[in-house]
């Protein structure tokens, strides 16, 4: 329910995978997310400001971990392969890294998704055993940065982990109670134990996907690259999974762990063998703190309710919730005018109700519409369009290369790899969801590069723009690009040419058909292109009702597709 994240927003959080390919310092060039630290700042301002929070004395929790079998906390070593979105036919960079994992059931190890993302090989090592056990991913949830691993060989597990007790998943720790972080961070090879207190429990961005926010717990124990996926313990129980932190030049002593509600949700979701992802209301709301707002909506002055600003049409509440609806309660929890509800004695964001639900679950809302109370029920589903701004993992970059023209679907990885600043393309990226661009273009295809050749040498200035049509075919999927260029499609009376039309650019990109075929082979060998396309069906078109029905087999359209809008007149003259 948060407003959409700004495009390419830099996330100050860094994942804690100790990857040898990514120097620790290099990951953290972001500006601090917080203002300058005051020298005389009180030691615990949060606690001082909120006396209502019940802060138990630290002694009340058991910090001893003698009941924990250290053999259950394993080192996860991975060999990685980073996809190359800049040169998509290349294999990509090889590297290695390590994180931490822990046994949660028979041959089931929990770790972070980012530890095992884009990996070729995974090995699990015990603390006192030199043997690496080959492992694989059973389930991975990139949206909440969790993964389940298993040893490939059951015999390995039976012999290597004989008598090792899985760790027990506990509850949510209280503020200012001591927690113990165990793992394999940088600074040595052997297992490491650090200790700190629970500093804050709040919704936070999960940096692995770049677009998800969930409950996270901030702790002040030293957690460092390599701690990722390791258990955070209290009273000999797991109270979290260490997963991200700030680099030292941003904030001191702030590490984050994934709390138990998120862990339990993940474990429950994968019980059927599949991970079904988080669901989302895809609805933005604004608090109702202003008396004028309350009067305008004819609401009683009881401090209850938030106003719907927008419900994304493709989201769970699309077509159900409308601008100016007021949400009064969610599953029976009254919603305060700042968007908070009370669950189990804690004030939390109303999204926490949705957070704990699964695809297909319903949520009951009491709303205020046209000065009347109404009860509505919403069936929850994923909000797919936001994935365009999400980090992608365990995928090969999709692309089509033709006569040196490189086409790729718009997504975060592509935008970053090509460092695209073209305004019209940034518009498609930022407003793909809000402006429902996906209805017309489930995939936005960008001309990301032109590999120079005599046939295309005048086309290089047109890179980074969105493709509107090719040979008369409207381009709404990467597959369209391939089909339009590998058949008889042509613009009316233009049999001899391939014609690529860009959004907001009147000048067509034209190749001679007979030259293009020859050039294609020449360019492939010249530029060491192993394969010239890789196309997958995007998830979004699997979702029913999202996309306008396509006209039956788009015949070569009229000669000219009128581009919708136009771009910055860069070389405006006269």
């Amino acid at each position: 329910m948060n407003p959409p994240l700004p495009p390419l927003s830099r996330i100050a959080l860094i994942s804690l995978l100790a990857a040898s390919t990514i120097p620790w310092n290099a990951v953290s060039q972001q500006k601090p997310a917080f203002g300058p630290l005051l020298k005389n700042a009180p030691a615990a301002p949060a606690a001082a400001a909120e006396p209502v929070v019940d802060i138990p004395p630290p002694e009340s929790v058991q910090t001893d971990i003698s009941e924990i079998s250290l053999d259950a906390i394993v080192r996860v070593e991975v060999d990685t392969k980073q996809p190359n979105y800049r040169v998509p036919w290349n294999v990509g960079g090889m590297g290695s890294g390590n994180g931490t994992g822990f046994l949660v059931g028979p041959n089931r190890f929990l770790t972070n998704a980012h530890v095992v993302s884009d990996t070729r090989l995974i090995y699990i090592k015990k603390v006192n055993d030199p043997k690496p056990y080959k492992a694989r991913v059973v389930n991975v949830a990139h949206d909440c940065d969790l993964a389940l691993l298993e040893l490939e060989s059951d015999i390995d597990f039976e012999t290597g982990f004989k008598g090792v007790q899985p760790l027990f998943i506990g509850g949510t720790p209280k503020l200012n109670t001591t927690v113990i972080v165990v793992g394999y961070p940088i600074g040595g090879e052997r297992i490491s134990v650090t200790r700190g207190v629970v500093s804050r429990i709040d919704f936070r961005a999960y940096s692995h996907s770049g677009v998800d926010n969930h409950l996270a717990i901030q702790i002040d124990a030293a957690i460092n690259p390599g701690n990722s996926g390791g258990p955070v313990l209290q009273n000999n129980q797991v109270v979290g999974v260490a997963f991200q932190g700030y680099s030292g030049n941003v904030a001191q002593n702030t590490g984050y762990m994934i709390p138990v509600p998120v862990i339990e949700r993940f474990l429950k979701d994968v019980e059927d063998g599949n991970y079904d992802h988080y669901v989302d209301m895809a609805t933005s709301v604004i608090s109702i703190l202003n008396p004028a707002q309350r009067r305008a909506l004819a609401l009683p002055n009881d401090g209850i309710g938030v106003m719907v600003a927008e419900a994304d049409a493709a989201g769970s509440a699309g077509g159900v919730l409308k601008t100016k609806d007021v949400l009064l309660s969610i599953d029976g929890h009254p919603i305060a005018s700042d968007g908070f509800i009370e669950i189990e004695g804690e004030r939390v964001d109303l999204n926490e109700i949705i957070e704990r639900k699964f695809a297909g679950d319903t949520v009951n809302l009491e709303i205020w519409r046209d000065e009347k109370r109404e009860e509505i029920t919403i069936t929850l589903k994923r909000f797919i369009p936001y994935l365009i701004q999400s980090e992608q993992y365990d995928r090969l970059p999709n692309f089509v290369l033709f006569a040196g023209l490189q086409f790729q679907p718009l997504d975060r990885s592509m935008m970053v790899a090509h460092n695209i600043s073209e305004l019209s393309t940034r518009y498609f990226y930022s407003y793909y969801g809000p402006d429902e661009i996906y209805r017309e273009r489930p995939q936005v295809i960008v001309l990301t590069d032109v590999l120079p050749d005599s046939t295309n040498t005048h086309l290089q200035t047109f890179i980074h723009r969105v493709v509107d049509s090719i040979n008369g075919k409207k381009i709404t999927l990467l597959q369209d690009v391939y089909d339009a260029l590998h058949g008889d499609l042509h613009e009316d009376g233009r049999e001899a040419y391939h014609v690529v039309r860009l959004v907001g650019e009147e000048r067509p990109l034209v190749l001679k058909r007979k030259d293009a075929a020859v050039a294609h082979e020449r360019i492939k060998s010249q530029y060491n292109v192993g394969f010239d396309h890789f196309i997958e069906v995007p998830e979004i078109i699997k979702e029913e009702g999202l996309i306008k029905p396509l006209e039956p087999d788009a015949a070569p359209a009229e000669k000219k597709d009128e581009p919708a809008a136009d771009a910055a007149p860069k070389d405006k003259a006269a």
């Binding site: 008396p291 707002q293 040419y497 809008a565 910055a568 007149p569 003259a573 006269a574």
Partner: protein, 498 residues
């Protein structure tokens, strides 16, 4: 110079004494101090983030060229957003406040006149004649003046005559590119450039690293002065197109221009610009203007300067109201189109491309700060404004058509929200485009001010936006109370509508 402290008659004598014995050398080595005048301006830019404020006053000192009738030519940049301009005699130091008799920020030229009578300011100074004869290879003199009033003349060589940007992005004119080594001196902001004692241009910019400079040339100065002298300043016309080159043989074949020479491809048309009004369409290929063939790069052959951008055919001498003849190819068929040249004023754009000598238009209501979007507002986000300024607004500037089609004259947006009792809960809202206030579509800031002036029956104003948070409400009485407090707090003006 020793005679600097001498009284007026003595000075005159001394000067005559200097000049008379060697008249011919004086002719060749014209004395800078005789025809230039110091211009001291105080500039104060308007604030765009706090539109009720102006920034810190800054001094700017340059040199003007003395023209006949005690007029002084300077660049417009020299006195942009000026609060006070004065003329100062180069050596005797006499000063007089000046007024701007004419200014054109696109052509970057201004004419100053003394606002009061002070004969000492022009004492002994001679008007410069203007000479358009410069060609590449000429040696020109850049005139400067020392603190003590001595003239300094530095030789520069004309590398080429070109078309380039002056001051306003996207606005290009004829330019002499020169090379030479110049020293920084006081009053160095703009400098007259002469040849054989006649004014040939004004120095615009100097790169000390490259030792090159751009000179605003005499032909543009003459056009500007002629336009000014007829009493009805029209400015330089604009065709209002953006083009692509047609070097690509495949494109030429495809567009049916492979049998002809040259031509430029029309990519973009400014709404209601000269070309748009004359019926030029996107995709047309312009082959010639007034019979001058245009090559595939967009240049034509100028009799004196060689290859020059086609834009000079519009800007170099043509006036607003003139008709030019365009030979074009449309759908592979040749056509001729007459274009009446017009000039699109900055305020005629949805988003003003520049704005000087007046502040941004705004309305503050109960702590909500509304403005009309201008390019200077976006630029106030700093060097990297295209990535730092709010994206929706940056995008609107690049692609205004959709907003123009909605019938908007200006783009009114809520730039930020001051935390007040009236705006409680809205503090985080900023940079959103306003669509309606109390049900009225907002075409410009005056519409908005009018809408707030009419109090709805329930005393609540409804403000709608095109995106999050879509709609907010404020109480009329609470807002007006806040307005009073804001005035006490020091915000002098709650609106600027003109």
């Amino acid at each position: 110079m020793f005679f600097q402290k001498l009284s007026f008659p003595a000075f005159l004598v001394a000067l005559l004494f200097c000049v008379t014995p060697v008249p011919c050398s004086a002719q060749q080595k014209a004395a800078p101090e005789k025809s230039i005048i110091r211009v001291n301006a105080t500039l104060q830019d308007y604030s765009f983030l706090r539109p009720w404020e102006k920034g810190a006053p800054t001094p700017r000192r340059g040199l003007g060229a003395v023209l006949k009738g005690n007029r002084v030519l300077i660049t417009a940049e020299m006195c942009v957003n000026s609060t006070f301009v004065e003329l100062e005699h180069p050596s005797n130091g006499a000063r007089v406040p000046a007024r701007i008799a004419g200014i054109d920020y696109e052509a970057n030229l201004a004419v100053l006149e003394p606002a009061e009578a002070n004969s000492k300011v022009f004492e002994g100074l001679e008007a410069l004649e203007i000479d358009e004869s410069v060609v590449a290879g000429d040696t020109l003199n850049v005139w400067q003046v020392e603190d003590n009033g001595d003239g300094v003349s530095t030789d520069v060589e004309v590398l080429r005559v070109d078309v380039g940007r002056y001051y306003i992005p996207g606005s290009v004119f004829l330019l002499y590119q020169v090379k030479g080594s110049l020293q920084a001196r006081v009053n160095s902001f703009t400098l007259p450039v002469v040849k054989n004692g006649k004014l040939v241009g004004m120095l615009l910019s100097y790169s000390s690293k490259e030792q090159t400079a751009g000179v605003l040339p005499a032909p543009v100065i003459n056009t500007f002065l002629a336009d000014l002298d007829d009493g009805d300043y029209q400015g330089f016309p604009n065709l209002g197109i953006s083009i692509a080159q047609t070097l690509d043989e495949t494109l030429r074949e495809f567009s049916g221009i492979d049998k002809v020479e040259g031509g430029i491809f029309v990519r973009e048309l400014a709404k209601d610009g000269s070309a748009d009004k004359a019926g030029i369409l996107k995709g047309d290929v312009i082959l010639s203007i007034n019979g001058q063939p245009i090559d595939a790069r967009g240049n034509y052959s100028h009799p004196k300067y060689g290859k020059l951008s086609f834009s000079h055919l519009v800007r170099g001498g043509a006036k607003v109201g003139d008709k030019i003849k365009l030979e074009i190819v449309r759908d592979a068929k040749p056509m001729t189109i007459d274009v009446e040249l017009t000039r699109k004023l900055p305020e005629d754009h949805l988003i003003d491309p520049y704005m000087f000598d007046r502040g941004p238009k705004y309305v503050i209501f109960g702590g909500l700060i509304f403005q009309e979007l201008t390019l200077p507002y976006l630029e106030s986000w700093g060097e990297e404004w295209t990535t730092r300024a709010p994206f929706k607004l940056v995008h609107a500037n690049a692609e205004p058509h959709a907003y123009e089609e909605e019938g908007r004259e200006k783009l009114v947006f809520l730039s930020s929200v001051l935390k007040t009792p009236s705006t409680l809960g809205y503090e985080a809202v900023n940079s959103v485009i306003v669509t309606k206030v109390n049900g009225t579509f907002i075409k410009n800031i005056k519409d908005l001010a009018k809408a707030f002036a009419e109090v709805p029956g329930d005393g609540l104003h409804t403000i709608e936006f095109d995106e999050y948070p879509k709609v907010i409400y404020v109480d009329d009485r609470a807002s007006r109370l806040v307005n009073q407090q804001l005035i006490q707090y020091g915000i002098g003006l709650l609106e600027r509508l003109e």
